[in-house]
Symmetry: C2
Subunit: 466 residues, 2 copies
């Protein structure tokens, strides 16, 4: 058994919280988008929230937890969707939110603490030199950069820069190991991949260096279409326009916009599918000319709207905010994460649209992938049973679509369904006792696990409910 | 006959030069890269150089020339390669070099006169707000923006932004018509295509608004390879890295670098093919990691070279500066302009390399084309006869490569070998007498011309030699 009382004595002087309501709140993320994870993880809670102010305090926490055999699960802002920051075996939730300093800004670079919120970083870099982060999730206003790097994959901006995993999209990560005497490591080049999207299972990120790009006063524009596939084609055609600078291109099928985007509802007809865009001001002439030659019509244009009060920014209609807005109106809704393989990605999309209709309302995100335009999807799912959800996934996969299952809490099941040898090897080096975020890396917990079993991985260390 | 004396009286007060040596000098560009054009155009000269200081003076010149029936051929810095700025029927050469003001700079935009030199524009925009033009030819240090828009197609930077013709890469053009009372027109959106790459045949550009991007202290890096196809593959693999910010990726086959890049020669072995790159400083860690996983080795890296004195910038080894450096050493050399159709562009390249060997040393430029990475080529040609040159072109075309023939002075023969209906219609509207840069638009001179004749178009108005 964990001796939490002894651990607390060892952490004397640090910011600690063990009030059950606070601990439970800080032990959760947005796992409840998934009815499957909601059932599996709803009872999960840590024993203690520790909030370090700097790297020295992180080292102290890790050394103490190592000594006492207490698991440590790092947490940024808790905006993840797969229980990334949830302590499956209890123990310490390491809340990095207060390590949020923006340390240095230079042409093309920013260095921050892991807890810095993305929007706050951009505020600083814009004021400093008209720069901003290359990409961010739709939780931009609350998500931390460390959480994004450790638990995210891309987002708004990926239409130009690809995903976080693409070499160059994270410049440097500073991490601390989980050992008797924790070591500090500096990772650059391809070495950053060792800890990226590893959910903190093989090191605690204490400093992040990210590339910046030119910031603009991006203009939110929404284009309406009578037919979803016309919207999808428009999005693709726009995405391959090399001269029209766009930060976001998101087709969403009717009736999602009208039914769920309540504050924008007045701009849509219910049968209208839309494409949500963020366009650079100096690209607007070209963009408008481009729309004129399409089947769409501009239904919303933020720079020509008299009253923007109460309207969320366009990116908060996209990526997983699409799902969030739908769930708020209809709590039975959930979603999938898909990739429609290029170059015939639109044909894959059409096949799924034709197959599922309104049971799986389409939602695409155009992204750059290996130098070309690709389509990711976060289709909504009108959930009935876990069995039907699995069937919908299987039908996607049988049709050549890739599913990154957001109804699983492990790295592998939510990802490529295979061991990441680099991350596993790094965990052996940095967390020999397996105390960092236990239960998230199948390759560590059960090296012989068969990903083709068709079942969910069950982590033996998962807290028992009730 | 043209009454040049009467024209001169009408232009009293304007800056005029009719000294034969000056007129001849200002009637030329870099047409002599082509032995074919050298023979055809060597004798071509205007009657008068007129150098307006502003748009009012341009209007005065055009009205007077219209009255006297005198052709007008606009000229920027004369860095074109196909006689774009050469007055085939004599008349006025309109030298726009002094209309070179950088007027306004804003986020993502710059407005200038047509004669502004690209490097001067960047100097101003960098100092103002850390911005630079999206793309430029290798003649960056001397070429004018008006000449680039009217006679160029892309260049350094096209790896990220595509070509000049891509919607959004030119924001606005202000032009003056060739009529009794010249009109001023403002072209935006897709309308800019009416006068772009039209060699000034359908309007005189008096103001240019271009998009800007973030400027960086780009680092020149050269990677050496034992085999050219390894260099080409590396270039392609680098080009599809969405997170590694590169401005230039140029594979060049041995022995071109060693034999012709004299000032860099010490960095190469003669049998080494190279890839010339410009990399953003904040991408260097990722770039070096990427090179490490390739078959190449870094043979030159400007940020780690003790003595850069006398070395030209890397972009002056690329695009048509590759050709220039070869011609300086071996005046019998000339070149082609090719596109190797995607997605099997490297297979097309290999087919031509295997076929021609050292008769046509390979030189690729990776560019973005309709949202994907494509390969353009400016292979050198060890010239023997015009017939063999035509045969080399035919073999390229028979193998599915597209040739934009740089040995022709017409828009169509150097381009897509078909009428550009938009530009032709615009010429009817803006130059009803056909006085702007005569002989360059076949569709105007001979609407029935057969592009499949296999012959060169012969402009009847071309000055007779001697």
């Amino acid at each position: 058994m964990m001796d939490i009382a002894a651990l607390k004595r060892d952490l004397d002087g640090l910011k600690i919280d063990d009030h059950p309501a606070i601990v439970q709140q800080k032990s959760r993320d947005f796992y409840w988008y998934s009815p499957v994870l909601k059932q599996q993880l709803d009872h999960v809670t840590g024993d203690l929230i520790v909030t370090p102010k700097n790297e020295d305090e992180v080292i102290r926490v890790l050394a103490a937890c190592h000594r006492h055999g207490v698991p440590v699960t790092p947490r940024g802002s808790g905006t993840g969707n797969y229980g990334q920051a949830m302590p499956l075996s209890g123990g310490v939730v390491l809340n990095l939110a207060e390590m949020n300093t923006v340390k240095t800004i230079a042409p093309g670079r920013v260095v921050t603490g892991p807890g810095a919120v993305l929007a706050d970083i951009d505020k600083a870099t814009r004021a400093h030199s008209g720069q901003e982060l290359r990409m961010s999730p739709s939780t931009y206003n609350t998500a931390s950069i460390g959480g994004f790097v450790a638990g995210g994959s891309g987002g708004v901006g990926s239409i130009r820069w690809g995903g976080l995993r693409d070499l160059g999209n994270v410049i440097r990560l500073r991490t601390v190991t989980m050992e008797a005497e924790p070591r500090v490591m500096e990772l650059t080049g391809e070495d950053v991949l060792k800890v990226m999207h590893a959910y903190g299972t093989n090191g605690i990120i204490t400093e992040v260096e990210m590339p910046l790009t030119a910031s603009y006063d991006w203009i939110d524009v929404i284009i309406g279409f009578d037919d979803f596939m016309d919207a999808a084609s428009f999005g693709n055609d726009l995405a391959i326009q090399d001269g029209i600078l766009a930060k976001l291109i998101t087709p969403i099928a009717a009736p999602v916009p009208y039914d769920y985007f309540k504050r924008h509802q007045k701009f849509f007809r219910r049968e209208q599918s839309i494409v949500v865009c963020m366009i650079a001001p100096h690209a607007m002439d070209a963009f408008v000319a481009f729309v004129r030659s399409s089947k769409g019509e501009i239904v919303f244009r933020a720079d020509q709207e008299a009253d923007l009060k109460g309207l969320p920014p366009a990116y908060e209609l996209t990526w997983n905010h699409t799902t969030l807005r739908a769930i708020r109106v209809d709590p039975t809704i959930t979603y999938l994460q898909a990739r429609y393989p290029s170059p015939d990605h639109l044909a894959h999309v059409k096949a799924m649209v034709d197959r599922f209709g309104d049971e799986v309302p389409a939602h695409l995100e155009f992204i750059r992938f290996d130098g070309a335009i690709g389509a990711a999807g976060l289709p909504l799912v009108r959930f009935t049973t876990a069995e039907r959800l699995d069937e919908i996934i299987r039908i996607h996969e049988d049709n050549g679509c890739w599913i990154f299952n957001p109804h699983r809490y492990t790295l592998e099941e939510g990802g490529m369904k295979r061991t990441d040898d680099v991350q596993l090897a790094f965990k052996r080096e940095t967390d020999p006792q397996g105390l960092l975020n236990p239960g998230k890396m199948i390759a560590w917990e059960n090296p012989d696990y068969d990903y083709r079993s068709g079942k969910s991985f069950l982590f033996k260390g998962l807290q028992k409910a009730g």
